[in-house]
């Protein structure tokens, strides 16, 4: 089913310099479309986090919210290609007025994960999520971001009051039987096991009895890059000998991300030059040239945005 398009580039293309460099970066094939990422809320978010890799915010409209029908069409398109699971992201998915309906539609057909900042839950929405989860054939995962185990650290990234809101959301989700996953960005390059255990202890102290934790590295993208933290010249996959390139190490070997605007190589590069691959999923099944600094982070850390 894969098309035979030439590799797309994640960097600026069309310049003489870019042309000379062509072929110097590894090219990542899409082995199979396992994970379909849907940027359901576009770039609309109730927060303006200082490290947001997509630079989302309350008034940002670079990617529009996706209507419920458009989401259903994308899921259908993905399932026809054998998609294993669906991830909903934004922006903040729970800003979408039809998010619960979208989940109801999708959970009938595929496992779903929602990535949220955890600040917009209400008793009614949590009760509805719990009902959806109990009735569904597949798992519903809720991933709540927590950038630190203390109010000061988290709120420095996400704004005052949001630590307490997120923790309150986590506790309410667990009380409803939903076992949320805490997504923690390794902002200080700590040893992963130490960081994980620190988070687990803190979450238990907050009252979460069964903390689940997903660690992510920091990406020098979006607002994080704007505040001066950019990829350096050595943070690149350029020049990696083809014989040394492991094509099973990157999530873009098994995912694509759709927004209202089209299909992108992965959820990290939806706002980056060269990240857009096609209007359709079928058109985005080709290889991808790994020019971006974020490709280096993914490759070096072996990270995936997916669960597990």
């Amino acid at each position: 089913m894969r098309n035979a398009e030439p590799a797309r580039s994640s960097g600026q293309s069309g310049t003489a310099e870019a042309d000379r460099e062509a072929g110097e970066f590894p090219s990542q094939p899409l082995h199979h479309l396992d994970s379909l990422w849907i940027q359901v809320a576009g770039t609309r978010c109730n927060l303006s986090c200082t490290h947001c890799f997509v630079s989302c915010g309350p008034t940002d409209t670079r990617h529009a919210m996706m209507p419920r029908r458009q989401v259903a069409e994308r899921v259908t398109e993905g399932l026809a290609l054998g998609v294993r699971e669906v991830y909903f992201t934004g922006g903040e998915p729970f800003l979408h007025p039809e998010m619960l309906g979208i989940l109801e539609d999708t959970l009938e057909r595929a496992p779903c994960t929602v990535l949220t900042n955890g600040t917009l839950f209400t008793p009614a929405s949590i009760a509805q999520l719990a009902r959806l989860s109990r009735a569904a054939r597949f798992s519903l995962e809720l991933r709540v971001s927590l950038d630190g185990t203390e109010r000061g650290a988290h709120d420095a990234f996400r704004g005052a009051g949001n630590f307490e809101r997120a923790v309150k959301g986590l506790l309410a989700l667990e009380a409803a039987g939903l076992l949320p996953i805490v997504t923690a960005t390794n902002t200080a390059h700590e040893d992963p096991l130490v960081l994980r255990e620190r988070y687990a202890a803190a979450l238990r102290a907050f009252g979460l009895s069964r903390p689940r934790i997903k660690l992510l590295p920091m990406f020098q993208l979006g607002r994080q890059a704007l505040r001066g933290s950019r990829y350096g010249a050595t943070e690149t996959l350029r020049g990696l000998p083809p014989g040394e390139f492991d094509s099973n190490r990157l999530q873009c070997g098994s995912c694509r991300a759709v927004t209202a605007d089209g299909v992108y190589v992965c959820p990290l590069l939806v706002n980056e030059p060269g990240g857009r691959m096609s209007d359709t999923l079928v058109g985005a099944l080709g290889s991808f040239e790994l020019r971006h600094g974020a490709c280096f982070t993914c490759y070096a850390t072996g990270m995936t945005c997916a669960n597990g």
Binding site: V83, S139, E141
Partner: protein, 262 residues
């Protein structure tokens, strides 16, 4: 019309020689014409040579799981595919012990095991594998695989019935196309269900596909004592005594995780 093939299948022995002996007895009593082990003979439990010797002395068709490959080739880790640092920590403890305690004669046997096995039964193409048809260490969880994905796996790998293991939890999906995917589970540790016994799959492959998961009790306390004498992690021993997973569970999907205690 030919009788249905009675096939017993299990995975993840994890050095649990006592559970292995009990499962082999139960499968024989059930009338299995063929018995298959879908890989990972060692890991987690004590004295890995005991399970390996028992399996080699039986008529069981054994596949090479990721752990068998890593032990056989003395690799640096088990290649289980865990992403969580706590899971990786405990799987490394398990692997280091197993590698050190497995004799070369069994390691050579592990290296030579096939990764997959195919046969026809009841007019269906049956594929046996460890993780998934495409990757030896892929976790296939019931609640985290769409029908579309499982259909794609079967279609791409030319199989009507797929038997897999690796994740350690047993399940069966009859797909809309009439294909079947069966995770046979593991017999080396309980199925995170609060029972100290283990489960294996008993299949009847004929005109239809019959799938039964059979519970088997074994001397789990004797195994726990062996694990204590080998100074294996207390967390592993707790699992054997309680039936609840305490480690290597961070990649469980929400539904499977919620069914456990930890």
């Amino acid at each position: 019309m030919a009788e249905a093939l009675r096939l017993a299948a299990f995975g993840g022995v994890y050095s649990n020689h006592l559970a292995l002996a009990a499962v082999l007895r139960d499968a024989a009593g059930w009338g299995a014409a063929r018995t298959c082990c879908l890989g990972d003979v060692g890991g987690f439990g004590p004295h890995p040579d005991r399970a390996a010797a028992l399996l080699r002395g039986s008529r069981v068709l054994a596949l090479r799981g990721n752990l068998d490959d890593s032990v056989g080739h003395a690799r640096s880790d088990c290649s289980c595919g865990y992403g969580d640092p706590r899971d990786r920590h405990f799987s490394q403890l398990s692997f280091d012990y197993t590698l050190a305690a497995t004799s070369e004669v069994h390691r050579a046997w592990m290296r030579d095991l096939p990764e997959q096995h195919r046969f026809q039964a009841g007019g269906r193409r049956v594929l046996l594998c460890h993780g998934s048809p495409r990757r030896v260490n892929e976790f296939l969880w019931d609640s985290a695989c769409s029908d579309a994905f499982l259909e794609w796996l079967c279609e791409t790998h030319a199989a009507d019935v797929v038997l897999c293991s690796h994740s350690g939890l047993h399940w069966h999906r009859a797909l809309p196309s009439g294909r079947h995917v069966i995770n046979v589970g593991a017999i080396g540790r309980p199925a995170n269900d609060g029972r100290t016994g283990v489960w294996y799959a008993a299949l009847q492959l004929g005109k239809g596909v019959g799938v039964e998961f059979r519970p088997v009790a074994y001397e789990h306390e004797a195994l726990a004592l062996e694990m204590e004498s080998e100074a294996l992690p207390a967390e592993f021993i707790e699992t054997i005594r309680t039936g609840w997973w305490t480690t290597c569970l961070e990649n469980l999907p929400a539904r499977e995780r919620a069914a456990g205690r930890h």
